[in-house]
Symmetry: C2
Subunit: 391 residues, 2 copies
Amino acid sequence: MKKLLYTLFFIGAVLAFSRANGEVTLKRDRLESPAQGRPETRSQDSLKIKWWNPSQHSSPVIEGQAWPGEVAGFYDRLPARAQKTVREAVWDLSRESAGLLIRFRSDAPEIQVRYTVEDALDMPHMPSTGVSGLDLYSPNEDGQWEWTAGKYSFKDTITYHFQSLPHGNKREYHLYLPLYNKVKWLEIGVSGNAALEPLPPRKEKPIAIYGTSIAQGGCASRPGLAWTSILGRKLNRPVINLAFSGNGRLETALVDLLVELDPALFVIDCLPNMSGFPDDTIKTRLTNTISTLLKKRPGIPVLVTEHADADINSLNTLREGGFDRVNKLAREALTLLKTKGLQPVHLLSAEEIALGIESTVDGVHPNDIGMMEYAQAYEKAIRDILHEKDR
Amino acid sequence: MKKLLYTLFFIGAVLAFSRANGEVTLKRDRLESPAQGRPETRSQDSLKIKWWNPSQHSSPVIEGQAWPGEVAGFYDRLPARAQKTVREAVWDLSRESAGLLIRFRSDAPEIQVRYTVEDALDMPHMPSTGVSGLDLYSPNEDGQWEWTAGKYSFKDTITYHFQSLPHGNKREYHLYLPLYNKVKWLEIGVSGNAALEPLPPRKEKPIAIYGTSIAQGGCASRPGLAWTSILGRKLNRPVINLAFSGNGRLETALVDLLVELDPALFVIDCLPNMSGFPDDTIKTRLTNTISTLLKKRPGIPVLVTEHADADINSLNTLREGGFDRVNKLAREALTLLKTKGLQPVHLLSAEEIALGIESTVDGVHPNDIGMMEYAQAYEKAIRDILHEKDR
């Protein structure tokens, strides 16, 4: 008997140790996923997974997509016809799923997602979880956002496995798609007896954003932490992310698409991609963009965002000047528009965004700290403009 | 004449466009580095680079290294003799340069660093810039920290190029080394006529930290954003990072090394790696660790940190319990120690660290938001314990 007890104790100790080994760790031999704490029980039911492919659904299920009925690829951000009007670089980037999310209801204790993407999984300053990963949020009964990490595996087919979800009642889930990659194919799975009910895009008027890599989501560590995603949760409103890395250049072809929308507000956050242009070009393009929006979409406010922020490169004597120049030109253009009586145009200043030296990964692209600072500044400005109270 | 003007205008427009193309962008064809704003002038002098290899310096130049004269590898964190006493995993991780920094003075307008590393450049949830990158900070005349991004290239030899630095006067620089990789060889270069004066490690008593992947720096987007790095800047004090991913397990072999140090404070932040162990093991190891430190290093305060924070996985019904259990056991162990009259032991609670659902990349490892929250909580706790005023 004593021997049996010792044996059991030994087995227990080994199990405990291997569990310990599976705790908070980051080593490369465990690349697939960080540990999920204690081993989680899995019922037989969970092995029978019922898979759902959103692209085969009869009605639109992608939120943040402005032209759901007109896309060439199911996860595209521009309508198919735009391929003829926008530059090739813009078209290519518009096929990355930045800002898109899938809403559904489920009572499943486990949710799995499997998908494939077209391009490289990561960048030197942005991890796979941000470039090509997923993010799952859910509002609780009090309207507060809840979140959980999924166990991921970045192989030819990427998988995310969300476990130990609060089940029993059907919850609303928001699944954010990759910020810097093109989804080729995707399926969401729940255990066989659980519900998976797709939800249509919300009817509230969205915030429509035309921007650069920063607005596309570079360099958030996961899709839910792009400032456009954070803003959408804070305002509890759909967001249309029309941001194109390096290519938010205030171009007519894009503005002509923007005016087809009927948002609560337009955000023009392109200045970081304008600093290589001559003064005149910057002012002309900004003025034309705003004038067109105000004329073709009268009454919809426009918010122009400065390039934030020179001080993040406090040691780089040349960089500061580049940031300041585009902001000065934008202010001049806006002043001119106001004297012409064109309203309503608003400015979100670099000072309001208030990035610090710890807010970027590379002196330009916000890390998660900078993304949160951007989102907070936007939330405040947009609530003011739309006369919406703080939650 | 008119034709010449048109030609010049056309050339100017093309140049402007190609510069625009080089602005804020994140595309994969520009993987090496984000743009640095306007093209920066480079004098002939900068082409003649004077390279310095810290490993060939006659006296210690690595800060954050507790046993500078006793290391097997120049960028190791444990003394060579530890290879015989610590587990293989701990030894291997101790060769990663987490928390190490090189201090020097320079009046150079440009600083370059080239180096090679042993392991994979990144992880799925932590980019190359954090796993294998560098970070350059400099205190200004008012003692405020300044920072700038370097243009990087992650190839067989990794290079960082810091440009347009404020030159003329010699400034103090702190160069942070990779958080999750082993530096094999490294050289720092300045233009031929600029000064590069190595500085010895500071004499102030350090904060000595024994911890897990979280304290090693996972998943900061760059080395200066690990919480131990932020804390060092906030307190203006050296920090000894003895954190080993997945292997901060309160082991005697490590504690025997810790007691060789003479820090201002010991931090024990191992609980996230203990949750797989049985209750008794957790309490015994924690009690033994603290008792040994207090007995062998009387008068040096010990700060024990809880696993922060259960709520970040608000949707995962099982995970919360795992976090809470180790914290409860730690509180019991500390209470018992206090009744025995062992002093001074302090606790940094999960509530004080106050991570939220946006503070981690994977439900366990802090992103830059979480790193800042950890650093702020530590700063407050340590200033209280050491009776140091806020800056």
